[in-house]
Amino acid sequence: MSAEEIMIVKGLKKYFKTTRGIVKAVDDVSFSVMKNETFGLVGESGSGKSTVGHVVMGIYGPTAGSITFMGNDISMGVGRRAKELKKRLQIVFQDPASSLNPRRTIGQILELPLRVHRLAPEGKYRERVLEIMDLIELPREFAERYPGEQGGGEKQAVAIGRALATGPTFIVLDEPTSALDVSIQAKIINMLMKFQKEFDLSYLFITHNLSLMRNVAQRVGIMYLGKIVELAGTPEFFSNPLHPYTKMLLSAVPVITPEEEKLKPEKVTSTGEISGALNVPPGCSFHPRCPFVMDVCSKVVPAQIEYKKGHYVACHLYNQA
């Protein structure tokens, strides 16, 4: 690889024990994120995409597999991570209404990470908070206000400002705009793209919105029931989707222009629903919904192959040659 890999995830597994059995939320996921890149992780609810983000953040430790960040192994829970590392890795959650403390003012929320990491001399914190507020384009007087009084866009801007406060190099964006209206979404995304250039950030962008992914990510991975079923560079991914699930997703995306309609692959009508992670179907977990299902699909888990340079797919259809 020419570009520098800032984050390498290898064979990542995260199982949860429940009273009804083991939930394999993430099952053998590997990918890497380059410096200054936006890597997109797409999937339906229950596909394990958020769990990947949470394990990367150390919210819980992995069951198996390794995570390497800037050359160091970080496959441990957050409790055992160095403070310096926490400064470098930040996250923005989906719903700003619940990720911001309603009883703290916006100023206090932005000040906390600065204090934790001692990022300003005593007495200068306030100044730094106001600088962050300029950055996220909030009027300075909002520092005294509470998040509950603000609109969704402003709240998410505060969550982004809080993530930026520590000067991170890598940010996990866990559906940062799913709770927002499209006009606000566009503003927040533009802000994130601007910060990426300005501060040399790398993003792990988690979303279920493929149209959005097309416009922000350099590479995209599609997850289904804990596995990455297809991974490719964005232009290749959208012009030549391989996996039947990818085709089904693309067929289902509502579009508004005729040009977009042309871009869609042959229509794969969506049928069935994602099964629970408790009883994952044997073999390829997508086979009960797949229109091209073969005998082998229900028996053997398809291996991930490199179909083209940089275009990986895990499907028996492409495995025969």
Binding site: E44, S45, G151, G153, E154, D181, V182, S183, I184, Q185, A186, K187, I188, I189, N190, M193, H208, N209, L210, S211, L212, R214, N215, V216, T234, P235, F238, M248, L249, L250, S251, A252, V253, P254, V255, I256, T257, E259, E260, L263, K264, S270, T271, E273, I274
Partner: protein
């Protein structure tokens, strides 16, 4: 013009709250013809659901309707007595809500809830037998493309997936929607492949049964393939109205233009600019154009007077003083 089933004229709705009066809907007009498919788009909080609740007469108790009329099949809905209203709910109109989890009662089985509705709407006069009710309920579940209807009747809502719950809600609404079906963001809380299934199912049902439908959504792509006429709402006002194709090829109101531009495209090309600012507070809202504070082309007069709806031909109406110059 086709026969009109529903005609809302100059409707205003206010909410009384502790802080004062929220002037939410301001002069909303819309019409739905028989067997017509109509869509309403707009951001959250712009009054889409409030308009539909007014049509269903299920507004919260602190809502007041100072002016406007809602004509439904030769009835004036706003003046209808409770008995008459109930009769309409039972036999003519119904609504599907955004969140099927909230729309179903978690402590009763699907069968109990569905059968209640069946008993109430399908058998208005004579007392039906249990078997008749059940047969009808199974039939409704089948028409919502639910497999194993018997098992579903015997399940609690939490035992079903989101997509199945929404299908149950559709089945319930079909019991009484003989003329008008209002679907309030039916796919928004579901995954994209499931949303696609639900929308296809709805379209097929509506066409098979010859229903009129009002589809509310903030997902502009989802309404496009569904409806023939679109209304765009902003901050409690109708800003634009046009046949679907006309609206997408020739949006005239600055809000509509910006809204369409803000949708990320599958073809790429980067994320366009959003619309700066937010919906004004309904508590302090003035008399001018409600979009003026976010509009780049707003003139001084826009802040003073609200624009009326100008007819620009082909059933295209727009509420903007400067629609020609933008």
């Amino acid at each position: 013009m086709a026969e009109q089933l529903l005609e809302v004229n100059d409707l205003c709705v206010n909410y009384k709250v502790y802080e004062g009066l929220l002037r939410v809907l301001n002069g909303v007009s819309l019409s739905v013809g028989s067997k017509e498919k109509v869509g309403i788009i707009g951001e959250s909080g712009c009054g889409k659901t409030t308009t539909m609740k007014a049509v269903m007469r299920i507004l919260a108790t602190n809502a007041v309707v100072p002016s406007g009329t809602i004509a439904y099949k030769s009835n004036d809905l706003l003046k209808l007595g409770r008995q008459e209203l109930m009769r309409l709910h039972r036999t003519s109109m119904s609504m599907i809500f955004q969140d099927p989890t909230a729309a179903l009662n978690p402590v009763f089985k699907v069968g109990e809830q569905l059968k209640d509705i069946v008993r109430y709407s399908e058998f208005t006069s004579n007392a039906p037998t249990k078997q008749e009710v059940k047969t009808k309920a199974v039939e409704l579940l089948k028409s919502a493309a639910l497999p194993e209807p018997e098992r579903i009747l015997d399940s609690y809502p939490f035992q079903l997936s989101g997509g199945m719950r929404q299908r149950v809600c559709i089945a319930m609404s079909l019991a009484s929607a003989k003329d008008l079906l209002i679907a309030d963001e039916p796919g928004t809380s579901l995954d994209v492949t499931i949303e696609d299934q639900i929308m296809r199912l709805l379209k097929q049902i509506v066409e098979d049964r010859g229903l009129s439908v009002i589809l509310i959504s903030h997902s502009i792509g989802a309404v496009k393939g569904f409806v023939t006429k679109l209304y765009v709402m902003y901050a409690g006002t109708m800003v634009e109205e046009a046949p679907t194709d006309e609206l997408f090829s020739n949006p005239v109101h600055p809000y509509t233009q910006n809204l369409l531009k803000a949708v990320p495209k599958l073809t790429g090309g980067g994320v366009p600019e959003g619309i700066a600012g937010r919906i004004p507070s309904y508590l302090t809202i003035g008399d001018g154009c409600r979009f003026a504070s976010r509009c780049r082309s707003a003139k001084e007069s826009c802040h003073v007077h609200a624009p009326p709806a100008f007819d620009i031909g082909n059933g295209h109406r727009v509420a903007c003083f400067h629609y020609g110059d933008i």
